[in-house]
């Protein structure tokens, strides 16, 4: 199995996230950056499939130079090699542009399986799996809480999360699989893994190297523009009451006063 897994470096989940004052893109400079937490599930699933069926796992990311830290993390978890698409011209690309750029790179790797996570914690679009499937012309097996691959039959099936249960979805390989949180238990990189990661093959591509048209990427070519951005007025804390044995009644009084019951 030739498996590609996409990862994204994002501001630390626990950091207070901001937009850059000048160009209204996500501020990635003044905060600590980490691998998108959800992507760890994607990397883990890729490694599990490789361990079960053999093959190779290639990590693909698009992002600034320091996204290399996130690539290293995926490699130290056990991925075999990586492609880093990085170029100042890519800065400010939206999800549609990013999907087109990633698809172009991924297509050159001729994968059997492309694995993504459900969403990144900064943009929270939840659309990359669908967009990669669209761009690559491959089946979309997103929202997967369980993945079963049958390389001999050239098939993959998933349990796709639904509001009240799941849908069983099948496709032929190659396919795009999007995994949800909790599908597995992502491993921690071992010391040996961390040392090995430094020697694993890494290809760095500019947008030109990847064959991307300069006008199609970056903030200027994005499909939408931010007109205005403001900090939301912070929510005020309301009435805090200590339970004196009638706490439930007091809440009911509050709800009734607000006409909520």
């Amino acid at each position: 199995m030739n498996i590609v897994v996409t990862v994204k470096q994002v501001p630390d989940t626990w950091a207070e996230k901001k937009l850059d004052a000048a160009d209204k893109t996500v501020d990635r400079v003044s905060v600590d950056n980490v691998m998108n937490e959800m992507d760890e599930y994607g990397v883990e699933e890729a490694l599990k499939i490789k361990e079960a069926h053999g093959g190779e796992v290639t990590v693909v990311t698009m992002g600034p130079a320091k996204a290399l830290e996130t690539i290293r993390k995926a490699l130290s978890m056990g991925a075999d090699k990586a492609v880093h698409l990085t170029d100042d011209a890519l800065h400010g690309s939206d999800a549609l542009q990013t999907s087109a750029a990633l698809a172009k790179v991924i297509a050159t790797l001729s994968p059997d399986l492309v694995i993504t996570a459900t969403e990144a914690s900064d943009a929270r679009g939840g659309v990359m799996g669908a967009l990669l499937a669209e761009r690559l012309g491959l089946p979309q097996l997103t929202q997967a809480r369980k993945v079963t691959v049958d390389p001999a039959a050239g098939k993959v099936s998933i349990e796709r999360l639904a509001d009240n249960g799941y849908a069983l979805v099948e496709a032929s390989l190659p396919a795009v699989v999007g995994v949800v949180e909790k599908i597995n238990q992502p491993r921690y990189p071992s010391f040996k893994g961390i040392m090995a990661a430094k020697k694993k093959p890494l290809t760095t591509l500019s947008s030109g190297d990847a064959g991307l048209d300069a006008g199609s990427v970056g903030l200027a070519g994005a499909g939408s523009t931010v007109v205005d951005a403001q900090s939301a007025p912070p929510r005020q804390s309301g009435t805090i009451v200590k339970d004196e044995g009638d706490g439930g009644v007091k809440i009911a009084d509050f709800l009734a006063a607000q006409k909520l019951i």
């Binding site: 069983l168 994005a222 939408s224 309301g238 009644v249």
Partner: protein, 319 residues
């Protein structure tokens, strides 16, 4: 007036409340055209609802090809209609399934995409709360036909009866769009409770519940209030409640009229998914819990005493 396409959100033809919200919003932007894509024989169930909420036209596709494959076929339908009807905008509900359809539609029509809008002005400027609602952004699509994904509970649905014209869409879904086949649908929870993202009232449980069986307390309160049940990540990580019900940064975002947090500390992970709720009530035994910093009404106490008492009291007052 130019058309505004609204993708009908439904379960086997049964329309979801967000469809009425989208049609209400669409009426402020142009002439609302509903797009119904579902399995054979499902449209009849949606028809009266779409007329109730003022659809001027309904584009109908009823076939297994749109119902039994993930994502791509409905996007093909929408892309075709965008090409033919040149609408002002396409409005789609921010559900897990439909946001994927929206993205594919934007890609096919080379259009800009905005997700999780909570308002859209007549000039098509969309309002979004990003970073868990801490920053409010106004943005505008600058390319193609704006594809705008709108959060449930953003607009109050207002009826405006109409007699929509019905247009059967003549489309053959391509083979490439039929790559991911849904071979079975398995219901694991038949609760009869409202959908989490659509509910007017949500009662969520967290770490303070201490065990899976204690979620019964949360469910009982929820049922008394006609509410959906949510859970914090701590609770779903512990396996106490299904992942589908997780509210927060890596789960669902909800914006109900009333949100009751039971035994939830209110760390940023959870806060990001619920802080735009209209009224927040918190029950937690730790007076230092961050949730008390932004709850409208906080009760410091033992949830095992407070929640049953609250349930009884609500029941009593319902008469």
């Amino acid at each position: 007036m130019a058309e505004v396409l609204v993708l009908v959100e439904h379960a086997d033809g049964e329309p979801k409340k967000v469809t009425g919200e989208l049609l209400t919003l669409a009426r402020t932007l142009g002439e609302p055209s509903a797009v119904f894509a579902g399995g054979p024989g499902t449209y009849a169930k949606a028809k009266p609802y779409l007329a109730e909420f003022g659809a001027a036209k309904v584009y109908v596709v009823e076939s297994d090809d749109v119902a039994d494959y993930v994502g791509a076929p409905v996007a093909e339908v929408l892309a075709k209609l965008v090409g033919e009807a040149s609408p002002t905008a396409v409005l789609i509900a921010a559900t897990a399934d439909s946001r994927e359809v929206a993205a594919r539609t934007a890609a096919k029509t080379e259009s800009g995409l905005i997700w999780d809008a909570t308002a859209v002005s007549p000039e098509l400027v969309a309002t979004q709360g990003i970073f868990g609602g801490s920053t409010i952004v106004s943005s505008k699509v600058t390319k193609g036909t704006p594809v705008i994904v709108v959060r449930p509970n953003s607009t109050a649905p207002v009826a405006a009866p109409s007699s929509p014209a019905e247009v059967q869409v003549d489309i053959t879904i391509s083979d490439v769009a039929k790559g991911a086949k849904i071979v079975d649908r398995v219901a694991e929870a038949k609760s009869g409770r409202p959908d989490l993202t659509e509910a007017q009232v949500v009662v969520s449980g967290g770490r303070g519940l201490g065990a899976a069986e204690h979620f019964a307390l949360v469910e009982k309160l929820a049922d008394t209030l006609g509410a959906a049940v949510g859970a914090s990540r701590a609770a779903t990580d512990a396996g106490w409640y299904p992942h589908q019900n997780q509210v927060g940064q890596t789960g669902k975002t909800v914006s109900p009229q009333l949100y009751i947090a039971v035994g939830i500390s209110g760390a940023i992970q959870h806060r990001a998914g619920m802080q735009t709720s209209k009224t927040i009530v918190a029950i937690n035994k730790d007076p230092e819990a961050p949730i008390f910093e932004f709850a409208d009404y906080g009760l410091v106490g033992d949830l095992f005493n407070v929640v049953p008492q609250l349930t009884d009291e609500v029941e009593k007052r319902k008469g």
